[in-house]
């Protein structure tokens, strides 16, 4: 086909684009993905037994705020990744905030008098934490990839990594309703490791699955 014919074809019957279409697509996918992650957590692991008491504990809120912040900046990053030519510096810079906060809190807790360092770092679930975070994240990762494919990612490995970061943090958020750990060093190490693993999975799969 000749290029001017193509242009005529594309511009005839042009539909207006609704505002906020990208955000709606992403939020819809994320809601579905999160629902999947919640189902995985409840079905495979179950809510922590002392949930009613724990929900007001400091440890629970440490997990929730840390993972939510990473997920929020990760979501922003994904939204930028889906748009050609968009800058990512802002969400990337902001990601440093939750990291700095958890490191600071870890230092505070570990330097407290009589702190049980090995207990804080290892807890009782350090061997499974990162793996379970990753597994919980998988439905959200799949949904994020699905949505990102409908946008226009142009750096597929980075876009995959961004999707992985978001999904990993969202998975960690959901996982924290099962997990009974609450010390900042534990969260800083093992929750972060789960998020990093999911990020790497996303970076690995991005070039293959995000092509459009």
């Amino acid at each position: 086909m000749r290029t001017d014919e193509l242009i005529a074809q594309l511009s005839s019957g042009l539909e207006p684009v609704k505002r906020g279409q990208v955000a709606r697509l992403l939020l819809g996918a994320v809601a579905l993905g999160l629902a999947g992650s919640v189902v995985v957590m409840l079905g495979m692991l179950g809510l922590r037994h002392d949930f009613a008491r724990a929900i007001v504990s400091f440890g629970m809120w440490t997990k929730l705020v840390y993972t939510f912040a990473i997920a929020a900046f990760g979501f922003w990053l994904v939204e930028r990744m889906g748009r050609p030519g968009a800058e990512m510096t802002r969400p990337l810079q902001l990601l440093a905030l939750p990291l700095l906060a958890i490191l600071l809190l870890s230092a505070l807790q570990m330097s407290a008098p009589g702190a049980d360092m090995p207990g804080m770092v290892l807890g009782h679930s350090s061997r499974v934490c990162a793996v379970l975070v990753t597994i919980t994240a998988l439905p959200t990762l799949a949904a994020t990839f699905w949505a990102l494919r409908k946008l226009a990612p142009t750096r597929l490995r980075w876009a995959g990594a961004g999707a992985g970061l978001f999904a990993g943090a969202a998975g960690a958020f959901v996982y924290s309703f099962h997990c009974t750990e609450g010390s900042a060093p534990f969260i800083a190490i093992w929750y972060s490791l789960g998020i990093v693993v999911t990020t790497l999975i996303g970076a690995l799969l991005g070039p293959k699955l995000l092509r459009w």
Partner: protein, 187 residues
């Protein structure tokens, strides 16, 4: 392209609201930039394909343009992606330039392969001890003295043995040519 940023951006914003005329002007204008972008990086057939691919991508993904960002950066991002896509495709289906055709057809190994196969077939008709001798001396270049030492035979015995083996192979070969007919002989 940066010079027309404001004009293109206006057209794009109008197009996003459904203005087909603005959209057509936008795509026509972009085509010129895309063509010169791809022509410099691909051969001409692939370049025009890439122009069209990019126009289709711009159309299909137009919702991803964020009006708070520069329009030209958005278009460039898509064009760059399509260029990389084209390179990737070219790598998957490698093409041989025409100059290499001579290289491909210049050297024919078929005859050599047939000859090697025939020698092996022929040698297998000898008794094992003689076969080893012929192979060592006539094919692998082992000296008669060495072969004699290896087999424990005298040098003259080795020579005679090889001579007889070659003679019997010659006869074998003649028989075969008669059997298979002259057509095969000039192979």
């Amino acid at each position: 392209m940066i010079a027309q940023e404001a004009q293109y951006r206006d057209w794009m914003l109008a197009a996003l609201m459904g203005d087909a005329a603005a959209y057509r002007m936008l795509l026509s204008g972009l085509t010129r930039h895309l063509r010169s972008y791809f022509v410099r990086r691909l051969d001409s057939g692939a370049a025009e394909d890439a122009v069209q691919e990019t126009l289709i991508a711009i159309h299909a993904r137009r919702a991803t343009y964020d009006p708070s960002l520069p329009f030209t950066a958005w278009v460039y991002g898509i064009a760059r992606y399509k260029l990389i896509d084209e390179f990737r495709r070219a790598k998957r289906r490698p093409t041989v330039p025409l100059e290499d055709a001579g290289e491909l057809f210049g050297h024919d190994e078929t005859q050599e392969a047939i000859a090697r196969r025939d020698v092996t077939k022929l040698l297998n008709k000898l008794p094992p001890a003689k076969r080893e001798l012929v192979k060592d001396i006539k094919l692998d270049g082992v000296s008669v003295a060495e072969a004699a030492q290896r087999t424990g035979m005298s040098e003259s015995a080795v020579k005679v043995s090889v001579h007889r083996a070659i003679k019997s192979l010659n006869e074998e070969l003649k028989d075969e040519e008669v059997k298979e007919g002259p057509g095969d002989a000039d192979r």
